[in-house]
């Protein structure tokens, strides 16, 4: 009996040891620099005057490098300076929306601030979910922080304004979806010679679809011939997850000259026969190009969301790809997470033809996705004044540079000039320069209040095309017809 008990106890201890061993040791996040004495006094006084000292603010955001910086660095600093505790829940993208929308729709007031991605703001504004920060600060001038000014932000803040120019969210991240490539592979003389021999022109980062395809094919074969775990491109093609919809509709179709998801915003129709472009020849060609890239992508591509794409690239499994800019900094600089440190280059995404760039230059279109988000305050929040203080705290100029280095995001023009950001710009081979100088060529999602609903109408057709159940052309034809049928039900295009 004693032997039996000993055996059971040892088994349990062994299992516990295995579980504990699997848990990484906690790494202390870097602390935010302390504020000057006068500033610190202002924050404390403001928190006291608003009755916020001792209050706990609850927020929800997507688990991304910028959000994790807010949670690990800015929240403790804010508590230190104000006495207001911040509990920021960073979770998956879909859970974040699920929780935030339920809370705001029901008006339960669980969250005092929520992440508002640029593409969902129009739906939130239409539903009056958010606090008008401009109005609130005008009504409460004693709570307006000295180092906070809406005018310091880049034009990205315009996405979070209503028609009258009132601001409903403080931008906390903004970045573009870039074309990332491996400088070591593209710069390899042996690869360059082999490429030129096979394709008849110089190996270089792609500027158009044909070149991208050649690069992808070449490096896939290059990896195979050398027994390397290397493929020609990443593809964010998780069949079943909205990330594949987003790569197609916000990155690939615009680069093929199809904007605003192919929905005609004058009559709210998507199909060509009704004035839309969702199933136009250009859209079908761009979709087909993207689907063709799956043959040159790592095997995880059809299970890859935005996270796995970044992980694949960081693991050195792809020679080039479309990667969200928020990942550029850590892929380029963090040797603990990336195997391609010092070997990445950034460029504008490849385009179907030159007319797309011309459209973007002249304001008729855009070449890719300008992503980002803000922290907004639900009108149902029980601690609005305290949340306004938090939003201003994260919107100070002084916290922006470290945040940019940690999360490759820039929301203020002045951040580009910070020495820390310029050092990171060198490591990323010019990511921040590209963001600063070419950011205007990119655009956020179209202003659709029905964004999520219509995405869910279209996405199943994309999934089925990835799975090979539908051709690109059939998928877009059926998607366009489904959108034309759904929008009138929502009260658009009747």
């Amino acid at each position: 009996m004693l032997r039996h008990r000993l055996f059971v106890t040892l088994s349990i201890l062994m299992l516990a040891a295995m579980v504990l061993a699997a848990c990484p040791a906690p790494v202390a996040p870097p602390a935010a620099a302390p504020l000057a004495e006068g500033e610190a006094t202002w924050w404390r006084t403001a928190a006291e005057s608003a009755g916020c000292v001792g209050v706990t603010l609850r927020g929800v955001s997507e688990s991304t490098p910028p959000s994790n910086f807010a949670k690990d660095v800015l929240a403790p600093a804010f508590e230190r300076d104000t006495g207001i505790k911040v509990e920021l829940e960073t979770t998956s993208w879909d859970q974040m929306y699920d929780k935030a929308i339920k809370d705001m729709e029901a008006g339960t007031g669980i969250y005092d601030f929520v992440y508002i991605e640029q593409d969902i703001i129009y739906a939130y504004l239409a539903n009056n979910y958010l606090l008008n920060m401009t109005q609130f600060l005008a009504d409460n001038p004693n709570l307006a922080a000295p180092d906070f000014d809406f005018g310091k932000f880049t034009t990205f803040i315009d996405y979070f304004k209503d028609a009258e120019g009132n601001v409903y969210g403080v931008p906390m991240e903004a970045f573009v979806k870039i074309y990332l490539y491996r400088t070591d592979l593209f710069g390899d003389p042996e690869a360059q010679a082999a490429f030129k021999e096979k394709y008849g022109y110089d190996l270089a980062p792609a500027t158009n679809y044909e070149q991208y395809r050649d690069n992808a094919e070449f490096f896939t074969q290059w990896g195979k011939d050398r027994g390397l775990e290397l493929w020609g491109t990443t593809v964010q093609a998780a069949s079943g997850h909205p990330s594949s919809f987003y790569e197609l509709f916000e990155t690939i179709l615009p680069s093929g000259g199809v904007y605003n998801w192919g929905i005609n915003m004058e009559n709210w129709k998507a199909s060509v026969e009704n004035g839309g472009t969702m199933n136009s020849d250009r859209a079908k060609a761009a979709f087909q190009f993207w689907l063709d890239m799956l043959q040159f992508a790592p095997p995880e591509a059809t299970s890859s969301t935005w996270d796995e794409v970044a992980a694949s690239f960081a693991a050195g499994r792809a020679a080039q790809g479309w990667v969200y800019g928020e990942n550029a900094a850590w892929i380029a600089s963090d040797p603990e997470r990336s195997r391609v440190v010092g070997n990445i280059g950034v460029a504008l995404p490849p385009l179907a033809d030159e007319s797309v760039l011309q459209d973007a230059e002249e304001g008729r279109g855009y070449i890719g996705y300008y992503d980002g988000g803000a922290f907004g305050i639900p009108v149902s929040s029980k601690h609005q004044a305290c949340a306004v203080l938090w939003n201003q705290y994260i919107g100070q100029e002084s916290v922006q540079a470290d945040w940019a280095v940690a999360g490759s995001r820039v929301v203020m023009d002045s951040t580009f000039d910070d020495p820390k950001v310029q050092a990171m710009d060198e490591q990323t081979n010019g990511y921040f320069t590209l963001l600063k100088e070419k950011g205007y060529l990119f655009a956020g999602a179209p202003p659709f209040p029905f964004h999520a609903t219509i995405r869910e109408v279209i996405a199943p057709f994309v999934y089925r095309a990835i799975a090979g159940e539908l051709s690109a052309a059939d998928a877009l034809d059926q998607a366009a017809a489904a959108v034309d049928a759904e929008l009138p039900k929502l009260g658009y295009g009747e």
Binding site: A237, P242, A467, L490
Partner: protein, 291 residues
């Protein structure tokens, strides 16, 4: 006559809680199911739709396909779990070296939340990162791709569910087996019955109430699986693993089509009740015939 007042008094806290968190939301779902309601529509609020949502369901190919897929999934996993669970429960009634250790390890999946089960399996089977595709390709040359091949995703979802829930079936059946009196078994052996006959004519009939309970619980669970499959495949590739729970989740939450989603939920609840009732009647009749 004895007063029931104390009994009702003691039950009342539970009944009140059940009424608030169970019955009222149920009534609300019925109410919403008769409305059109999408919070991102141009017109806010609910509008009366009568039986339109239910009429739509009958012609909704995606819904019907998801429902059929779920029925197949449920039949596959519940049958497998019952057979495996019975074999393991029988095995565990005997003494063998390492029995206690095995029993401890074996029930561990039960304490893991479904969402964590899905995440763990995803990490194990995702191509490029997971060990299972790596070793399958290296040792057997099998390209295991749950994001590409529907049959791989389906098999993985089924295996995951069996791995997660067979311990529950085993434990319940083991409790049932332990409660069977030894006398009828011994009498049958004395009368010359072999092991199979004892199992077929003594053990199975005596275990029938336990088997029924386990099957009902597992059917109800399997019909509403969402989180495990959501984490593992997100319903893909294509719609290969979009079970009805996941389909409803997508309609209700990301698509915010609350009215139609509520109608779907109610129909699935109805199907579940009917299935369980039919199964109960069928098994009860079998039991009566035996008697």
């Amino acid at each position: 006559m004895r007063s029931n007042r104390l009994g009702w008094l003691l039950l009342s806290p539970s009944l009140i809680v059940l009424f608030i968190v169970g019955f009222l939301p149920f009534l609300y779902v019925i109410w919403v199911g008769f409305h059109d309601w999408n919070i991102f529509a141009a017109t806010r609020g609910m509008s009366w739709a009568g039986a339109n949502n239910y009429r739509r369901l009958v012609f909704d190919q995606d819904f019907l396909a998801a429902l059929w897929r779920t029925l197949v999934f449920t039949f596959t996993v519940v049958t497998s779990e019952l057979v495996l669970g019975f074999v393991l429960a029988q095995t565990l009634t005997r003494q063998f070296p390492g029995r206690a250790f095995f029993r401890t390890i074996y029930v561990l999946p039960l304490v893991v939340a479904p969402i964590a089960v899905g995440a763990t399996w995803r990490l194990m089977v995702i191509p490029g990162f997971g060990p299972i595709p790596y070793f399958l390709e290296r040792w057997f040359g099998i390209q295991y791709r749950i994001g590409t091949y529907a049959e791989h995703a389906w098999a993985t979802a089924v295996l995951m569910d069996i791995w997660h829930w067979t311990p529950f079936v085993t434990l319940t059946l083991l409790a049932g087996l332990s409660a069977i009196p030894r006398e009828p078994l011994e009498q049958a052996m004395v009368d010359g019955a072999n092991r199979w006959q004892v199992f077929r004519y003594i053990t199975i009939p005596m275990m029938m109430p336990v088997i029924l309970t386990v099957v009902f619980i597992r059917i109800m669970d399997a019909l509403r699986v969402v989180d495990e499959v959501y984490m593992l495949t997100n319903g893909g590739p294509g719609t290969a693993t979009t079970l009805i729970g996941l389909h409803i989740f997508r309609v209700v939450f990301p698509k915010t089509d609350y009215g139609y989603g509520s109608a779907m939920s109610l129909l699935v609840l109805y199907v579940t009740i009917v299935m369980c009732w039919l199964l109960f009647v069928a098994l009860a009749n079998v039991g009566k015939q035996k008697a």
